[in-house]
Symmetry: C2
Subunit: 212 residues, 2 copies
């Protein structure tokens, strides 16, 4: 090799944010495909295409990276809901239906997606930071669903008070979370489309219960 030949760079430097993002996405990918057990620092960094030592340059450690990836995934889900609400073209019923579609009949429903969440819950068990994050995210989603149901009640001219909305929200979120979990674990008994139909039936029951 002569001096005039340009060598290929062994690696390229990345913007800090881009590198952090890439590591978080690699973490999600590993948790999804390999499971929590096999998601090691080396596996994550291999997926991200960097050497293992780099992790500590951007995160306090593996735990910090996983917690950050959780935050990232949670925000992603939250954003997809918020986009729906912001759309003024849709009526309250359609927004709810679209929400059900996202939750129960999209890429959010899969054994792989469950893998990531299960890993997070597992860590949450002994990690206070993760507990707090879950609590706050849960609270946000709960507020959104309560708002969606309130809009729906107004749309259908229902006779409901705050307490009714609160309990209906608990019931609806319980239903969607449960259907999501069961679909992820084993979709042999019913599919996402049927799950959406079941939620719409629930919504209809909700309407009947409070219409007068």
């Amino acid at each position: 090799m002569t001096d005039t030949e340009k060598r290929e760079p062994k690696f390229s430097r990345l913007d800090a944010d881009a590198r952090r993002l890439s590591l978080m996405e690699a973490t999600l990918h590993c948790l999804s495909t390999l499971g929590q057990r096999a998601t090691s620092v080396r596996a994550i960094c291999a997926q991200a295409g960097v050497s293992p030592g780099l992790l500590r340059h951007y995160f306090d450690g593996k735990e910090d990276l996983v917690a950050s990836a959780y935050e990232y995934l949670t925000k992603k889900l939250y954003d997809s809901f918020h986009d729906l609400i912001g759309n003024d073209e849709l009526d309250a019923e359609q927004v709810l239906k679209d929400s059900f579609e996202i939750l129960l009949n999209s890429e959010w429903v899969s054994k792989e997606m469950l893998g990531a969440w299960v890993a997070f819950w597992s860590i949450q068990q002994t990690d206070e930071r993760m507990q707090k994050q879950h609590h706050e995210a849960n609270h946000e989603v709960r507020k959104i669903f309560a708002q969606l149901l309130t809009n729906y009640a107004t749309f259908k001219n229902l006779n409901v008070n705050d307490q009714d909305i609160k309990f209906a929200t608990i019931e609806l979120m319980g239903l969607t979370d449960g259907l999501w979990l069961e679909l992820c674990l084993d979709s042999d008994f019913y599919n996402g489309e049927q799950a959406v139909t079941i939620c719409m039936n629930w919504l209809n029951s909700f309407k009947e219960r409070f219409s007068h």
Copy 2:
């Protein structure tokens, strides 16, 4: 020490079934309190009060032990339901209420209990034996709930067909599973008693929907 003195035995031998049971319960205890990550062979055997080497004498390995513990826990839950059904003293509505109590307002609801299930789901992701076990257990519970709803429909003289029961079962199991999961993860928004009330309200809606 003279020959006439009796030495304390360093350990005592146990019946094979008893030892297996003890190891499975130690596994559940570790998964619950330590989380999946810290549930090592050494931790399990310490909890069971035996040396680490013994595990391989009763199980093919750690994976086999965990899968067996899962089977054991599943059966335990299944049995507690079956006891309810067998009780002829109770009417269909009361049996359902008691089922909700077990699922949502008992020792089955805790961060610790979730720890065990989360560990199982995590393994299930990459373990076919666990997947099969979950599928079969799920199928059994689904049959039980379908039967409970059928009894209830007869009891209340409802006008339902098999398809109605099937979808109502999916909805009810989704609801209970979701409420259970949310309660285990974070019980700040509502408690087990309220969850039971919500399920009873659902049952009432079910009755209204099909009564004529």
